[in-house]
């Protein structure tokens, strides 16, 4: 090393810094640091071996550094390390992600063997923070829990985001259906953006990656132009955050608050989930790992049904005032006669014969429709190193056939990942991480569309054995047989529903995705105290969807009984539709970091960086003519459009450039201070407002360092206090500044008038009012917390209290259409989230025989409030939802409160009924229900280990919060829901009801009866808002690792076998007899709490084997 012109070079650097912006760079006064030239007398060669305290396996890649110097190395595949020449009184620091860092004084020893302890959540581990900076956890002034690979994989969840559920406090994950294609939504510390994105930023190896959820099958045009999501007819193709193979993940750090994530800039105002993928380690011999998992799935929850009344409906009252019923064999309604068990004809008459069955309840006909889902997940990985290179290569496949009958719901995911580093010279290191994902799937439509399997299934009367009708070649079940006149006919009993088996076979929702994510970095380290990193990341994918809906016209086969009329035709015009989403996101970061020990007690590090980001999204939606569909059945191509094809395309590009800096100061490894600052310039804001600056500060005080000598250190191994405050700015989506004109499209709900109209072109005001004065939105947050390690790391406590306030939110709000517009873009809205997070982990039992019991739990309580909308005269905005059940942000209420019409109650809680019909009156306007935010979330888990055995169990709960269930609505309508028969089917007096008499007084209702069929088939939508609380047995696993001793003479390095389950058992309150409250028709989008006949969630269980060579 040459003599450094320390001050001169630092001066040059500081000029650069001053040029940038940092107002609070402390004056660097004369610092010492002549330690490089200090003379010491005793130098030693030290070597040793590092093993894991968990299983005594050698640990590779453990960083071993000499305290107070920059000398360091890492362990090889056998856990060995060595130094040639270090001071005899030096201290070695052993650190590795996921293990407790150890400091070991050399004390003139030459061989030092170390066993690193796995202590999840210990205070002194290394964590990966923003922009892939590795930090000692003790130095962080904010909460940043880490989940390691093995913890992530316990439940063998195919989604790495779902696998976090219950494991980290403050994280709200909605896993929807828990199928491999299901979207997962991850929100940290509550939603803060009223209409924007609320999900955490997902960062893989330092590169922010796309986590879009383009909802399948919803109206692309309106979703793209208004940002609003229509949950009514959707196919869940999943969101992009789930593309990554969980087996490739080494660790996930959750940066919960804006402070932690401030350096990522605007997109991290909701926190960040920082994923670090596996890499090869220096000195490691090549290791091959093969892991196979077989998973089976079945339905977790279907509604409770009534089992007393069959097909048909009431047609009037007899002289005694009881219902007279008509058993209409074409009906989906189950409002018919009481079930007698009598064997009788049903369905259509074909060739003079009707089928017979007992008129009795088919108690499990819905549940038995589903089959056992199967999935095989294989990963092969190679990790190793050369002299100056490391690599990790993994290949994985996931093939699944879901819980729907036949093999029509498929999801296949293939991943190839390569991570490599090369030391190019002493000063340069290059790194590359590349992942290619390929997904192809055919999934099933939910909601109320004509192809919705679950919707048609639910509309099955209680006596119909629908689960026995899968043989479509049987003329009584199928479609397309010819009658005497040569016309195609259907033999299926129902005229208003289509056989779900027919839908599964004929409606296709195909998806394929090709995605490449990559990061490329060059590190240049010209000096010991200076390094420069240039990193470029890209996330590019094409997501292609093809919707193929058949064209057909079938007449009822039965022309004899008169039950079926020729009008009961089953007919569709057919459709071919293509949705293409091309997303490209390119990120560049240039970071210069200087480190210095300013005095013997104070160390400093200063980083400045430059960030560029560009996101391009190109969307196209093309379909055959939306009215007349296809010409030739079965030919799915736009050329087969019967009339002009429908086209929509949109291109958007946004750019952002930012400068950022971080200054870290530490005092005696006890007191730490981080200051960050960032300025962004965004393309999406008006010129005058496009630049915005935001700082953060955080401090950590490792107070236990001061108590090392006292008796308290027997109890308190480590302890720290932390505090932070931060601001994060956020820009808008592109093109929100102006009001535009669009091609007219007059949407009647069913049927649309489009332009050109018979050759005449037209134009119309687009519904959204733009805002040329848009400002960036700003989130301000602070948090305080503590982390304690007690009883020699046997117990760990992490507690935070936080408060986030977002203001000047950029909102596109629906407005009264009396204004002539449908929505407008505004800055407004202060939303506050405050809450506490508590994580506790303890090992009450650990015996010398290797038995250990670890218990852990989390508790999260977030209070969300819309403080002020800052809109004159406006106290509420609608966030979307359905027109008759909106989700709103109303001042003083939690974000995401449901708002709609309910039945009318008086001030004593009695129901006010109509004085003629006896049916409850509706509220004259919309009323508030709860919000979808839970009151609290909690989890409880245990890990038991004994020698090679491991057992894990995890429960989690969300308590409070509401969801809207169309599943309930449709089975109420259909007369199959449990409550439709609770008081029988004859007219009765609505319980606890009153009516208004002639004197305009409310009198107790004892005599005005209502017909349940009229009431339940037409409920106000507010009746479908139900309690979303649940407790779930989230994960159970049992694994066995074959002891090394038994593998000695085999080629295997390691064999682990296990059984597991996830999403296993669900407990819901009495009010919810309908659905898993986690399912959400709008996937991971901002529209939450909507079960719009979403497909039921599934229970997953199976076994896995992992072998390494």
């Amino acid at each position: 090393m040459s003599q450094i012109d320390f001050y001169a070079s630092k001066g040059t650097l500081l000029i650069y810094l001053a040029l940038t912006f940092l107002p609070f760079v402390p004056q660097t006064t004369a610092a010492n640091a002549n330690r490089f030239t200090d003379d010491h007398e005793n130098f030693l060669a030290v070597k040793g071996r590092v093993t894991s305290g968990k299983d005594q396996q050698p640990l590779q890649g453990v960083s071993v550094t000499v305290k107070g110097t920059n000398t360091g190395t890492s362990t090889d595949a056998d856990g060995n390390y060595g130094f040639n020449n270090i001071e005899s009184n030096a201290t070695l620091i052993f650190s590795s992600v996921g293990f407790a860092t150890m400091e070991v004084p050399v004390r003139s020893r030459t061989i030092i063997n170390i066993e690193l302890q796995v202590e999840a959540g210990t205070l002194i581990e290394t964590v990966i923070t923003a922009i892939a900076i590795r930090r000692d956890k003790r130095s962080l002034g904010y909460s940043a829990p880490v989940i390691r690979s093995d913890e992530l994989l316990t439940g063998r969840n195919t989604s790495s985001l779902n696998a976090l559920q219950g494991k980290v406090a403050g994280v709200n994950i909605t896993s929807t259906a828990s199928a491999p294609n299901s979207s997962s939504r991850i929100v940290l510390r509550g939603g803060s953006s009223i209409t924007g994105n609320n999900q955490a930023l997902i960062v893989i190896d330092g590169i922010p990656t796309d986590n879009s959820d383009f909802l399948g099958g919803s109206d692309v045009r309106s979703t793209q132009t208004s940002g609003r999501v229509d949950p009514r007819s959707t196919v869940n193709f999943g969101n992009r955050g789930n593309d990554i193979n969980p087996e490739d993940i080494e660790s996930i750090t959750v940066l919960k608050g804006p402070t932690a994530a401030a350096l990522y800039g605007s997109r991290a105002s909701n926190g960040a989930v920082v994923i670090t993928t596996k890499s090869g380690r220096k000195g490691q011999k090549t290791e091959v790992t093969v892991s196979s998992t077989v998973t089976f799935s079945n339905v977790l929850k279907v509604p409770d049904f009534q089992n007393d009344y069959g097909q048909g409906y009431a047609i009037g009252l007899d002289s005694a005032g009881n219902n007279e019923y008509y058993l209409d064999p074409i009906e989906n309604w189950s409002w018919g006669p009481p079930l007698t068990g009598e064997v009788q004809d049903w369905g259509q008459e074909i060739n003079g014969v009707r089928r017979q069955k007992a008129f009795e309840a088919q108690k499990n006909n819905i549940k038995r429709f589903f089959e056992l889902g199967k999935m095989i997940n294989n990963t092969v990985s190679f990790a190793g190193s050369g002299e100056k290179t490391t690599f990790y290569l993994s290949l994985s496949s996931l093939n699944s056939d879901g819980i729907m009958p036949y093999d029509k719901d498929n999801y296949n995911r293939y991943n190839v990942r390569f991570n490599g580093t090369a030391q190019l010279s002493n000063k340069f290191t290059a790194g590359i991480g590349l992942n290619y994902s390929r997904i192809n799937s055919n999934l099933v439509q939910g909601g109320q569309g004509s192809g919705s399997v679950y919707d048609n299934l639910l509309q099955t009367a209680r006596d119909i054995p629908i689960h026995l009708m899968d043989d479509l070649d049987n003329p009584y079940n199928g479609y397309g047989f010819l009658n005497e006149r040569g016309e195609p006919v259907y033999g299926f009993y129902g005229a208003y529903t289509v056989s779900p088996y027919f839908l599964l076979k004929n409606y296709k929702n195909e998806n394929d995705v090709d995605r490449i994510t990559g990061n490329f970095s060059i590190t240049y380290k010209p000096l010991e105290w200076l390094d420069i990193v240039e990193r470029i990341g890209a996330d590019v994918y094409a997501d292609r969807r093809r919707f193929k809906y058949p064209k057909f016209t079938y007449y009822p086969a039965d022309e004899v009984t008169g039950n079926y009329a020729r009008f009961n035709v089953q007919s569709e015009v057919g459709q071919y539709r293509e949705n293409n989403f091309n997303v490209s996101e390119i990120v560049h970061d240039l970071m210069v970091t200087a480190k210095a020990d300013l005095t013997s007690d104070i160390a400093a590090s200063l980083m400045v960086g430059h960030n560029l980001r560009q996101r391009t999204v190109s969307v196209s939606d093309a379909s055959t003519n939306e009215s007349f569909g296809l010409i030739v059945p079965g030919w799915y191509n736009l050329d087969n459009s019967n009339g002009p094809a429908y086209n929509f395309n949109e291109f958007s590009r946004r750019r952002l450039t930012g400068l950022y800096s971080q200054l870290t100061l530490s005092f005696r490894q006890t007191l730490f201070l981080d200051l960050t600052a960032r300025n962004d310039w965004s393309s999406t804001l008006p010129n005058d407002n496009r630049s915005f600056f935001y700082p953060s500060a955080s401090a950590s005080f490792a107070f236990s360092e001061l108590m090392k000598k006292g008796t308290i250190s027997d109890v308190l191994s480590h302890g720290k206090l932390r505090a932070s405050v931060a601001q994060v700015g956020n820009d808008a989506n592109p093109y929100l500044l102006n009001t535009y004109f669009a091609r007219p499209e007059i949407d009647g709900g069913f049927g649309t008038t489009t332009f050109p109209f018979n050759g005449v072109p037209g134009i119309t005001r687009s519904g959204r009012i733009g805002n040329p004065d848009l400002k960036p939105e700003i989130t301000t947050a602070w948090e305080v917390g503590t982390e304690l390690n007690l009883w020699n790391n046997r117990m760990y406590v992490d507690f935070s209290y936080y408060r986030n306030r977002s203001k000047d939110q950029i909102l596109t709000i629906p407005i009264s259409e009396g204004s002539g517009f449908t929505s407008m873009v505004i800055n407004g809205g202060i939303v506050e989230n405050k809450g506490i997070e508590l994580s506790v982990r303890g090992t009450p039992i650990r015996t010398s025989e290797g038995f250990s019991l670890e218990l852990y739990g989390t508790y999260t309580r977030n209070r969300n409030k819309v403080v002020d909308l800052e809109l004159e005269g406006v106290t509420q905005v609608s966030l979307g939802g359905l027109a008759d059940l909106a989700v709103v942000a109303a001042e003083g209420k939690p974000y995401g409160t449901f708002y709609g019409v309910d039945i009318l109650h008086d001030d004593q809680g009695r129901v006010i009924v109509d004085d003629a019909s006896g049916i409850p009156l509706e509220t004259p306007g919309a009323v508030y229900f709860g919000s979808y935010n839970p009151d609290y979330m909690a989890s409880w888990g245990a890990n038991v280990r004994y020698k090679g055995w491991g057992f894990n169990i995890l429960f989690d709960t969300k308590h409070g919060g509401q969801f809207v269930s169309r599943t309930k609505d449709i089975i109420d309508f259909n007369g199959t829901a449990w409550e439709t028969a609770e008081h029988g089917r004859n007219p009765y007096v609505f319980p606890n009801s009153v009516y208004t008499d002639q004197d305009n007084k409310l009198v107790t209702n004892t005599d005005i009866t209502f017909l349940p069929q009229d009431y339940f088939s037409n409920l106000p939508y507010g009746r479908n808002v139900i309690d979303a609380s649940y407790v779930k047995l989230r994960e159970v696993s049992l694994s066995y690792r074959i002891p090394k001793s038994k593998l000695k003479n085999s080629p295997f390095g390691d064999i682990t076998v296990g059984i597991f389950g996830n999403n296993l058992v669900l407990w819901t309150p009495d009010a919810n007899k309908y659905a898993d409250p986690e399912i959400n028709s709008a996937g991971a989008t901002n529209l939450q709490g909507f079960d719009f006949t979403a497909q039921p969630s599934q229970r997953n269980f199976g076994f896995n084997v992992s072998v390494s060579f």
Binding site: D5, T12, Y16, T225, I315, I330, Y496, P526, G562, F567, S571, V592, H610, L612, E626, S627, S641, G643, Y646, E650, F651, R653, R654, S682, S683, P734, Y735, Y740, F741, A742, P744, D747, G748, G751, T753, T754, F755, F757, N758, V760, G762, T764, S816, E817, G818, G820, T822, M824, G873, V874, S878, A883, D884, Y899, V901, A916, S917, I919, E922, G925
Partner: protein
């Protein structure tokens, strides 16, 4: 490494940063929207307005009007419109009805008025826009009652207050008067093909304006008869419509009759079937239009070949014998000819019947007696669908006879108007029933969930207003009459 090298490196860093900043401004100027247009012109806006009103009139309002005017009823073999026949609709049902009037039509009308303001050369566009504005507001207020008017389509107002119906009617008349004063049948600049209704024929628009004004004023006949009479006097000897003002639809996907396009999306399900109220009356009066508005039910085996309706709201009975609406109304789901059914904004028949009523009341002078106008109305109705036998019908049919006494004459006129509007002007027929109580032989739907023989008297405010407009005045019950509906 030497000091020099380090300095070079540092200079390089600064240089890279400097370049990055220099390019910054341009780099960020990428916020021009390539997906939407920034400007519009009147000839592009006008057809969008007309098509929006056409869709509203031809789809939701035709369905509600058609069922509540008892031309049609829900088929027992399907279920889509059961709630309409049950009178138990909810606010959600009307979101699109409202949107088509306000966001699709009125906003673009406002854009036309903004673009033509102060431009005398564009007066004909201004006039048409004002007429359409008046037309749209009458639809809105007849449907919903009090609606936003003074604060509607007003920049900066996102929670418009509601204007009482009485004032809305005053405004409608004022706009029509202004439009009439602006119309110049010899104007050089007129719309052409962009005017889907009259193709720029300003004389037709003048007739439309006069006829529409007569319709609007007559709507007030029961609530403020003197005001109605005074207003109608200004129309003495004016020119009224003699041919249908309508939009023609075609078989092109997206340009079909709006009712039929709904049926296509519903899988060609035939939800609408003939109501006995209409078929019975037509059969009793040997009305040859029955075969135009309905298809025959034919069953050789059962020896049936006739027009058969089922009782209003009898969908829960097991009836399988009924006629369907024909393609001329766009309501026959199985026959693609339905795509071509026009949507009538006002018809020639309506024009004559309005004149006949105004003359019968003694409020209007046209130079022709009421009886002549009454018969011209019947003739116009037949002519519109090329039905023969009109003179036989006028001579023989009890419903075509001219009674004595003003009230009976009005009854005859309104019933004839109802007959003419079968399946093509359903909403207007229903409004006239609400105003006059004619036809007086409507039956309460068998499926009514209202009880007490109540019948719908308005359509409900949309749920979008309930949940998105802070100045929303409150949901009304479906049987609460609107302001002008005062006759029992």
């Amino acid at each position: 490494m030497t000091t020099l090298n380090i300095k070079n490196k540092c200079i390089l860093v600064v240089a890279v940063a400097a370049i990055a900043f220099a390019g910054c401004k341009k780099y960020l100027d990428v916020n021009d929207n390539p997906n939407l247009a920034s400007s519009a012109s009147v000839e592009l806006l006008l057809p969008a307005v007309q098509a929006a009103l056409g869709h509203d009139l031809g789809n939701p309002l035709q369905i509600y009007g058609g069922i509540w005017s008892q031309y049609w009823t829900q088929s027992p073999t399907s279920s889509q419109y059961r709630s309409i026949d049950q009178y138990s609709v909810t606010t959600t049902a009307f979101d699109r009805t409202w949107r088509m009037i306000y966001s699709d039509a009125l906003q673009d009308i406002q854009e036309i008025l903004n673009l033509t303001q102060g431009k005398a050369a564009s007066n004909q566009y201004t006039a048409i826009a004002l007429i359409l504005k008046a037309y749209a507001f009458q639809l809105a207020t007849d449907a919903f009652g009090d609606v936003p008017l003074t604060e509607a389509t007003k920049p900066g107002v996102t929670n418009p207050t509601y204007t009482p119906q009485q004032q809305i009617y005053d405004s409608i008349v004022a706009w029509v008067n202004t439009a009439i004063s602006l119309i110049d049948v010899d104007a050089e600049v007129t719309p052409a093909t962009d005017d889907l209704i009259a193709h720029g024929d300003m004389e037709q628009w003048l007739r439309f304006a006069n006829t529409f004004k007569l319709r609007v004023l007559l709507r007030l006949s029961e609530v403020t008869p003197q005001k109605a009479a005074a207003g109608i006097q200004t129309l003495n000897n004016a020119e009224f419509l003699t041919k249908d003002a309508q939009i023609a639809y075609s078989a092109v996907g997206g340009n079909q009759n709006p009712l039929f396009s709904e049926m296509l999306e519903l899988g060609r399900t035939q939800n609408l079937v003939a109501s006995e109220t209409s078929t019975k009356f037509m059969t009793q009066n040997r009305d040859p239009r029955a075969d135009i508005f309905y298809t025959r039910f034919v069953s050789a085996a059962r020896g049936i070949d006739s027009i058969i309706g089922i009782p209003q709201g009898s969908f829960r009975s097991n009836l399988r014998t009924f006629s369907l609406p024909s393609t001329v109304t766009g309501a026959n789901a199985r026959n693609d000819l339905s795509a071509n059914a026009p949507v009538k904004f006002m018809s020639a028949a309506e024009s004559y019947f309005l004149q006949a009523e105004a003359v019968a009341r003694g409020w209007l002078t046209t130079g022709q007696p009421a009886l002549t106008l009454f018969r011209e109305g019947i003739r116009a109705s037949f002519k519109s669908y090329n039905v023969s036998g009109v003179e036989t019908y006028i001579t023989n049919s009890p419903a075509a006879q001219w009674p004595s006494g003003t009230q009976q004459q009005i009854r005859a006129i309104i019933i004839q108007k109802w007959l003419a509007m079968n399946g093509n002007q359903g909403f207007e027929a229903w409004s006239e029933w609400r105003r006059t109580g004619y036809p007086d032989f409507f039956t309460v739907s068998r499926a009514s969930a209202l009880g007490d023989d109540r019948m719908p008297a308005r359509i409900l405010y949309p749920s979008s207003e309930v949940t998105q407009n802070l100045n929303f005045p409150g949901i009304k019950l479906i049987y609460e009459p609107v302001w002008w509906d005062v006759k029992d």
